[in-house]
């Protein structure tokens, strides 16, 4: 009896320790995030000012100047990448979901999985070889293509998952009304999966907005504001990279400021996605 009681106590204690450990380790995952936020806010916030957000960089040696070129550049790059990636990826995702067991679908799904694992610098090199060399110069469009390649797999996967969760009876309902297949997909299936597809799009946008490696070899960077897709263009992550590597303290401070802007942007996008998925949730 005594023996039993001791083992019971031992069990309760080890259970307690185990639960405590799990809790601690789970909470630890917030530590890096909090540290990152702390550093970026504490170092970056002081750089943020109206002139910082609305001016282009000053020449080397002069203090002041801002990052407007990079903000506009990043916006253009991400919008162009989305315009390229979203239609292709959604079509692929719907195709895979609809034709699960065909060879083409298996190939497409496999390719998307592999593509997701390709390092971003490799995609930058591919963009350099295929687009930059072919068209004879660094350009915003080549940067967008590299980013679009990075967006593809995420959107393909989420679209596929979303569409395959839509009950087949919805599709049958449309087809039984004599609605052609393409129209059923475009007007019934894709809208029914809208919130899921949108989540994938927003996750991929948030992801590529912070990508540096694919842009180093494609969009190159530009100290001035450029809106010409065939010319080099600035971007926030690349500006952070260049400024952080520079020997000038003023540039290092500005790199923190730019990091703050980028982080805020991505945070806002994530919050927006949470809001939208809740707002547009479809009930079957």
């Amino acid at each position: 009896m005594k023996e039993q009681k001791r083992t019971l106590n031992a069990r309760i204690i080890s259970d307690f320790i185990f639960n405590g450990l799990v809790l601690l380790i789970s909470a630890a995952c917030a530590v890096p995030l909090i540290l990152i936020l702390y550093f970026i806010v504490s170092k970056g916030l002081s750089s943020i000012s109206w002139t910082f957000l609305t001016n282009i960089p000053k020449p080397v040696g002069e203090t002041g100047g801002g990052i407007l070129n990079a903000i506009i550049g990043s916006l253009i790059l991400v919008v162009m990448a989305s315009v390229i990636a979203i239609p292709i990826a959604v079509i692929i995702g719907v195709y895979i979901a609809e034709n699960r067991n065909t060879r083409v679908a298996k190939l497409a799904r496999f390719s998307a999985e592999i593509l997701q694992g390709v390092p971003s610098i490799v995609i930058g090199i591919i963009g350099y070889i295929w687009v930059v060399r072919t068209f004879g110069g660094f350009s915003a469009i080549s940067g967008s293509i590299a980013l679009a390649i990075m967006m593809l797999p995420v959107i393909v996967r989420t679209t596929e998952e979303t569409v395959s969760l839509i009950p087949g009876s919805i599709k049958e309902a449309a087809l039984a009304l004599g609605v052609p297949y393409y129209k059923t997909m475009l007007s019934i299936i894709i809208p029914s999966g809208f919130s899921g597809i949108m989540t994938g799009i927003i996750i991929s946008v948030a992801r590529v907005a912070g990508e540096t490696a694919p842009l180093l070899l494609t969009s190159f960077g530009n100290p001035f504001i450029s809106t010409d897709p065939t010319k080099p263009i600035a971007s926030l992550p690349q500006l952070i990279f260049n400024y952080a590597m520079s020997p000038y303290q003023s540039w290092k401070d500005q790199a923190w400021g730019a990091a703050f802007v980028l982080l805020t942007w991505i945070l806002l996008i994530s919050l927006l996605s949470k809001f939208l998925t809740r707002r547009w949730k479809i009930q079957f």
């Binding site: 449309a174 039984a176 609605v179």
Partner: protein, 252 residues
């Protein structure tokens, strides 16, 4: 038979090499309710899915023989036009989740690119919902999502959506199997009204339902059309021993 709307001639259906329907011959009279009865797996659902060619959505499905709508073989028609003339209601209610009640009813028009004026749309919606015995319940909430309705109401909405296209034939695949007894009763009442305008072919597991709503009943067993006659004769003096066994509950 007078006023035949649909004539089935030596019709067989297959999934791969598996024969589901074995050389069916039957005729469907206009503006009657015809019940398809039989145990699970007897081919009755496959049969009605062949009538509007939904069967062929399955990649390894094939058919043999002919089905004539009036004089025209439906397998010579384009499925998208055929399906506008032969409407279908499914086992589970399936209103379009992104659409309001109003949009659901006119979905057959809007999705097929048939333009209607605003007044015409309203007319079609009111007529169809009235015929589907749903108008009084939803007339004040036409712009709410169709999926907020109860199961029975959703099923009547699906019937309204099908009859909005003014089909000649309405196929119902066990339309009440997912519904409670009161909703089932409402739908059965509705079918008796609808046969003034449409030919109704209903698949049912439920013998009482077949005897309550139908004018003629077909009994399917293992892919064969065993017996097809006036409902009353089928239930009171079946000619085939298999029909008799099924009706008396010896199998099925």
């Amino acid at each position: 038979m007078e006023d035949t709307i649909l004539k089935v001639v030596n019709f067989s259906a297959f999934f791969g090499t598996n024969q589901i329907l074995k050389s069916i011959n039957m005729e469907f009279p206009k503006k009657k309710v015809i019940a398809m009865m039989g145990p699970s797996g007897c081919g009755k659902t496959t049969f009605i899915r062949c009538i509007n060619r939904m069967h062929e959505l399955n990649h390894d499905a094939t058919t043999d023989g002919s089905i004539f709508l009036h004089e025209e073989d439906i397998y010579d028609m384009l499925p998208i036009f055929l399906r506008r003339r032969i409407g279908m209601v499914f086992q589970r209610p399936n209103p379009f989740p992104t659409m309001s009640i109003f949009e659901n009813v006119i979905a057959g028009y809007s999705l097929n690119g048939i333009k209607l004026k605003k007044a015409e749309k309203e007319q079609v919606v009111e007529d169809s919902l009235t015929k589907a015995a749903l108008w009084n319940e939803v007339k004040d909430s036409l712009h709410r999502r169709g999926t907020f309705l109860s199961g029975g109401q959703q099923q009547r909405l699906c019937i309204a959506r099908a009859i909005a296209m003014k089909p000649e034939i309405l196929l119902l695949d066990e339309p009440t199997s997912a519904l409670d007894p009161i909703s089932t009763h409402n739908i059965e009442e509705l079918l008796l009204d609808l046969k003034n305008d449409y030919t109704i072919i209903i698949v049912t597991h439920n013998m009482q339902q077949a005897s309550r709503v139908s004018d003629r009943t077909a009994f399917f067993y293992l892919g064969d059309l065993v017996e097809y006659d006036e409902t009353q004769s089928i239930f009171t003096k079946p000619k085939e021993i298999r029909t008799q066994n099924y009706i008396t509950g010896r199998f099925g």
